[in-house]
Amino acid sequence: MSDKYTPDTLTPELKAAVIDLLYRLADDSIVIGHRNSEWTGIGPILEEDIAFSSTAQDKMGHALAFYNLLHELGEPKPDDLAFLRDAKDFRCCSFVAMSHLPANAEGDVPELMNNPTRNRLIVHGDWSISLMRQFLFVEADVLRMHALESSTYQPLAAIARKIRGELKYHLMHAESMLRHLATGTDESRKRMQQALNSVYPHALGLFEPTQHDKTLANAGIAPGETHLRDEWIEHITPLLAGAGLRQPTDVEPVFGGRKGRHGDELVALLADMQKIYRMEPTGTW
């Protein structure tokens, strides 16, 4: 446990585990950053539009930092990692890839001269899903970065310290919005409860165990996923109760993302994200 690792001192087994960990961290960050930025310019109120965009931008920055660590370990350059891999190569959980649309969002969408995803978001999007996901994600993100600050993999510990500083604002924003929306009006309470029920099984997917968990934990590089999940549940339970929300129990977690098994939502998201880059993949945009 007392060993400190750098890219040059990782054993092949540890290197494979660190690479897998970094893909999970990077892909979660870029995908939630992308999702949340879909609201930029069309948020429910100017102040919230700005706050939400700002957290989205930070998450994109975190993704870049993790992709850079991957590049240091011999993986392709950051932009190629984000824009040239297919869904099956992404290691994000399904939770971050979920759209902002409620399950029953059906019906025609008029041509509003935005991209089709945004047209659908404008017509069917539900901010309660976005905000609830953001709250559950940020709480997990903070706990994870806190644990990674003391990672024995030095480059990761340094990045985690920097990220945790930024996450203070994400946390303040998400917790106060959760409180306001869950207690504001009958309608907002109802929407937030519905959102919690619908996203919670996916949120548990943040902590999908991987074959590298034990290796990473034993080497002091990252906490085990199950341990993190327990810590997260212990942390969010009083916050949800304090906001008057009922936490779902006996929930079957949605797993698969960490193994590259994804639904249509990630495929569609990546099609949006990668379409221009792939027009000239070797060019400079």
């Binding site: 930029t40 931008q57 920055g61 993704a63 870049l64 991209n115 504001g184 009958d186 949006d272 221009i276």
Partner: protein, 328 residues
Amino acid sequence: MVQPTRERLNDQPGDPGFEENLAKFEARVARGDKVEPGDWMPDAYRQQLIRLIHVHANSEICGALPEGTWIPHAPSLKRKMALVAKVQDEVGHGQLLYRAAETLGKSREEMIDELIEGKAKYSNVFHYPAETWADVCVIAWLIDAAAIVNQKMMAEGSYGPYARALKRICYEEAFHLTHGYDMCISMATGTKLQRDMLQDAVNRWWKPIMMFHGPSDKESKHTELLMRWRIKLKTNDAQRQEFLVKYLPKMFNLGLTVPAEWDLKFDEKTRTWTYNEPDWDEFVHVVRGNGPVSAQRLETRRLSHEHGRWVREALAAAASGRRVPMPN
């Protein structure tokens, strides 16, 4: 915000003391003093400023639409972050400007409602679609450049809250301009596909850009009064000329051309550009809501405003201390 009653303001021609107050006001403004919200001002000054700031604020939040829709497609991590930051700044500018207009007695809610109902204008350029990624590059460079010419001038204007908001906006716009220029350089020095995309965008955007600063001085009905009250310090034509002189050479340096029908020529003697006058009837038609995507822009704003209502109501309830009871 409640506007004081007309009787107490005496701010219209014929009101007691109006002429005397007007003379004092105009002397102050001519000295370069800033007018502050509580100060006496002619009602016409107040109304002109509300109109201008309202249009400016609307332009920021409508301007967020053509660019915002390209955020999901931004073709590198750096571009993606920069574009989110830029659109976020624009929404922030909208917020700042609505607040500046509120100091004159009109609420943000009322201004957004008027925008959605099609009763208030926004900049001509946002009535056009952003069809390709290169459009985002052209908007970020050339339209922001044109806007900076206007805003730098307005930032020296006589109304304190507007001038101060504009100072901050200009500071942020300078970053947008750098980001836009950098994007255009990448495209202009890129592959044939990228160069063609950029030139195509310039070709489509050049007309709205030539119209951006508003009708020619010969046709502009507000200019004289606005300049006397130092709301505006340069005419529309002077602003357009400033933009052309500064940016046409930069465009040519990147190998870009301007559609021939504008017949742009540099007059060495006057050091100005001559050009075929834009069709100002078309400009008026567009800004009245008849542009290529005017209806879609307003519908986008209307739907997002409507769908955000429950959030605004919940936040208002929370701010006033009202809470729904805790469940048992």
